[in-house]
Amino acid sequence: MKIFSESHKTVFVVDHCPYMAESCRQHVEFDMLVKNRTQGIIPLAPISKSLWTCSVESSMEYCRIMYDIFPFKKLVNFIVSDSGAHVLNSWTQEDQNLQELMAALAAVGPPNPRADPECCSILHGLVAAVETLCKITEYQHEARTLLMENAERVGNRGRIICITNAKSDSHVRMLEDCVQETIHEHNKLAANSDHLMQIQKCELVLIHTYPVGEDSLVSDRPKKELSPVLTSEVHSVRAGRHLATKLNILVQQHFDLASTTITNIPMKEEQHANTSANYDVELLHHKDAHVDFLKSGDNHLSGSSREGSFKETITLKWCTPRTNNIGRSVLLEQPRKSGSKVISHMLSSHGGEIFLHVLSSSRSILEDPPSISEGCGGRVTDYRITDFGEFMRENRLTPFLDPRYKIDGSLEIPLERAKDQLEKHTRYWPMIISQTTIFNMQAVVPLASVIVKESLTEEDVLNCQKTIYNLVDMERKNDPLPISTVGTRGKGPKRDEQYRIMWNELETLVRAHINNSEKHQRVLECLMACRSKPPEEEERKKRGRKREDKEDKSEKAVKDYEQEKSWQDSERLKGILERGKEELAEAEIIKDSPDSPEPPNKKPLVEMDETPPVEKSKGPVSLLSLWSNRINTANSRKHQEFAGRLNSVNNRAELYQHLKEENGMETTENGKASRQ
């Protein structure tokens, strides 16, 4: 396919000289009297169109078909020729519609039969046509700019359709010579110009039209190469409907069109309810839609001879859609000699445009493919299908027709925004239910749904904070969590361990978004303040852990802590700045809101349970890591005494010694925080 083939530019040159005002001598009855009123009334005499009317009407029909099928990139320039050339429109896309052309033609009006024929000539129009073919179209310009050094690949070809009344074959030859000479001259001009292009190929289609009943003075001639740049063909056509038929055939040839006749279309119900009335409609479309017929040599399905001219059309039968049809679509059935039914095409309408689809009626190469459930991940049964459905609905696309600009003034590309959003929304997105706790908790929804946003409102932050307080409250009340027990033996982790897993996951989610905005950071600060202690505190806390902790458990805790510490150290390095703020924020948020719960860090951690903590990492915990942690913990027992126990008095260690140190700061920060 070539965008810049001859069909990119079509110039119509229509003769507007006095003889075109002559009648085509084909009558049109326009006064069709209604049956019961005919008595005693003589119908008005039929009228006939002029050669001009026939020419204009037929060329408008050519344009109508072309514009309907190719709304873009196929352009028409309309020129009317009498004592001079009248160029009715330009190549710009805004000028490419019937309304514009009709208005311009009305302004020109019919030819004046009393004008001096000596002054008038079709030559003016032909010269103007060559001139206009050298003018660059916006599409050519755009392609040249885009291709830069390869700009010469953009072709400049075109077609001139000239409708005139010629005097003789030699007159026709004179017209051809004139076009050839003009091309030669204008190509020289164009060579030295930036906004003109040389014509590489021009197809001249000369249509000689004459009144019905007269003898033609011009003979038909098939396409002939007059020079490497110019080909010419001559059609001698009677005016009236013959001319219209000729242009209909030409538009099909020029734009690779084919015809399909749809039969058995039922009349609209309201008008013909319960009748079997139906009708036929002929459609023109790109001939690719007939590719299967053409290749299989089955193209003589229906060649009908209508109105004297041979017209090839393929007949397809309308299959009235059932109730559960696919939107605004209708299937079309191909009648076969054998009587078997084959649905070969589909008509559908989108936004008032009709499309003809070719359906594959042959064997599929994807026969009996393996089901997705048999492949990778196919045995997993707890995908978050509903949640991902919600995700998809949130990430639906919509058109943004008006240009939008970024803060820096550059054009914003909506599709890039869509990709950005997907990136944000998937930073932490566990695929299966047993991999997540927080996304199984209704209580987390208010936070999870807004934290992925690019920016947060104050209200969003408040909602996130409320969510966190709510979770703290739940923890205090010892509410159960929807922790998966898949892959764990027994009852799964104990309650406080469940909360630890939940808080870790929530932190992973929030942390993935802290760089979005300062408000996102505030959510993290709140989270860090409310959830289990930051590392240093935890260390001290662990040292002072209750005496009644069994020995092996406290040993494990140390081990735990060491595991945790190495992870947290690296985390700390990453977020060292945030942490600074965090410690301040911790106090401020907690006391800030009247409904905020007691700081959870005042609540002593009662015990560490059997199940070792999950390996701290962003992302879900694998079965392997759970298992190896367990083994490691078992092996590490009987090593070091827990620090808290070593320092204990009467088997009791003081917990939260650090709180005393922090109390002073708390009050000062409180004032500042209340501004929030």
């Binding site: 514009y67 009305a106 594959s360 042959s362 990778c376 997993v380 991902f388 459905g389 997907l422």
Partner: protein
């Protein structure tokens, strides 16, 4: 001679041609592998004879090449290059590839004819023509290794300004989602299965998760089957929600991912490729102009999910979506005149429709330079006026006379009365006030 004991490559190719077309039609790409010893046959029916008579074919005994379907012709010669070059065999075989528009390749054996060398030749064919297409399906941070089957074919957008065939990216990036009802049944270049695959660290495929007879593979596949895979999640949700994922295949090239059910039990993730270009589906508009709904002032799908921003209306309506006047067939003209007459007889009730139809006819007649029609219709309206029954509303006569007069003026073609944008308006009469209220 009907005994198939003679080398007759043309008959073989004709046979292939027929089988492929019967089975798969003319649009499915097909690779044809011709295995030959390099001997071309003798006399009539030999390849030499076929090629020599190539220019003397009629439509009925057309040479089967080029194949009437997208194709590659691979010729596997059970002979080495030297043997083939000693005669004109290689030239003749090369000619076949040329006749297939250069689509295809000839393979010969390196070294002596033995099983190992033949295997190596076919190994080369497999590498060239049967390498699976591996890609990474991405949706933000969610990813999956996939095989796309069949291999997407390279596509030439414009042979002149952009002659380099485009191939799709190996990163298939989801850009967003659209309801099936909105995307409707879009035209596509090709359809492909998207199969999740398990890759080892070296990037070699270790399994598709599909159970096989081989025991080792079986266990590897079983493991792969139990590891959560994004394709399965995506497929499940697309199916449940009735949506498609729009996927970027390259610069200005998009496609869609959707669930396709083979039967009640079997269903699959499929990918269809749209035609490359900025606007493959006119009712979606330009692809780059599609953005996230969160950027819109209000949700274009409505709070209750009861509306849709699609389909987009084209800037200029197609002629069949508006009231375009075409008088090429006399029936078109007659219908338009009848419409005016019908309304004329129901004046003053139908004043508005009467003038609307009258003005439509007037505009078209002026554009086509068909002034005689204006005169004719004016005469007709005057006659209607004389035929009005006694019971007719007095306004009817006034309006008919006025309309006829205006048409006559327009038919003079003088700019004052024949302006295209000028409309004939109803005559203001003593009655028209009350009639206007009725309308």
């Amino acid at each position: 001679m009907d005994d198939y004991d003679k080398t007759c490559l043309e008959s073989a190719l004709v046979g292939v041609c027929n089988i492929v077309q019967q089975e798969w039609g003319g649009a499915i790409p097909c690779q044809v592998v011709l295995v030959t010893d390099g001997c071309l046959g003798i006399g009539r029916g030999s390849l030499r004879h076929s090629l020599a008579t190539h220019n003397q074919r009629s439509e009925s005994n057309r040479f089967p090449l080029p194949f009437p379907f997208p194709s590659k012709l691979y010729i596997m010669c059970m002979a080495n290059l030297e043997e083939l070059q000693s005669t004109d065999s290689l030239d003749c075989l090369e000619r076949l590839i040329d006749l297939n528009n250069g689509e295809g390749q000839i393979f010969t054996i390196d070294g002596p004819l033995c099983l190992k060398n033949v295997q190596s030749m076919f190994g080369k064919l497999i590498d060239l023509a049967y390498t699976p297409f591996h890609a990474v399906l991405k949706c933000g941070h969610l990813t999956a290794d996939v095989q796309v089957f069949p291999r997407p074919e390279p596509f030439v957008i414009d042979e002149e300004i952009d002659p380099i065939p485009k191939v799709i990216n190996t990163d298939l990036e989801i850009v967003g989602f659209i309801d099936i009802a909105d995307i409707s049944s879009p035209p596509v270049l090709s359809r492909h299965l998207v199969l999740p695959i398990a890759l080892n660290k070296e990037g070699d495929e270790v399994g598709t998760g599909i159970t096989d007879d081989n025991e080792d593979e079986n266990s590897a596949n079983q493991i792969a089957g139990k590891i959560p895979n994004f394709c399965v999640l995506l497929h499940g949700s697309l199916k449940v929600e009735g949506m498609v994922a729009i996927v970027q295949l390259g610069p200005e090239w998009h496609g869609m991912l959707y669930s396709q059910a083979d039967s009640k039990k079997k269903s699959n993730l499929m990918m269809s490729l749209f035609e490359p270009g900025p606007e493959p589906l006119p009712w979606l508009g330009k692809m780059v102009q599609l953005g996230p709904i969160s950027d819109a002032k209000e949700n274009p799908y409505g709070e209750d999910d009861n509306k849709s921003p699609f389909p987009l209306q084209p800037k200029n309506k197609r002629s069949y979506a508006q009231n375009v006047t075409v008088w090429i067939k006399p029936s078109g003209l007659q219908t338009d005149v009848q419409k005016i007459l019908r309304n004329a007889r129901k004046l003053p009730e139908k004043t508005q429709t009467f003038y609307k139809e009258l003005n439509r006819l007037r505009k078209a007649a002026l554009a086509f330079g068909f002034l005689d029609l204006l005169k004719g219709v004016a005469d007709m309206l005057e006659r209607e006026c004389t035929l009005l029954p006694d019971t007719a509303h007095p306004d009817a006569a006034f309006q008919l006379t006025h309309a006829a007069q205006q048409l006559k003026l327009a038919s003079t073609g003088t700019s004052e009365y024949a302006g295209y944008d000028h409309n004939i308006t109803p005559l203001q009469t003593d009655f028209s006030g009350s009639s206007a209220e009725r309308i």
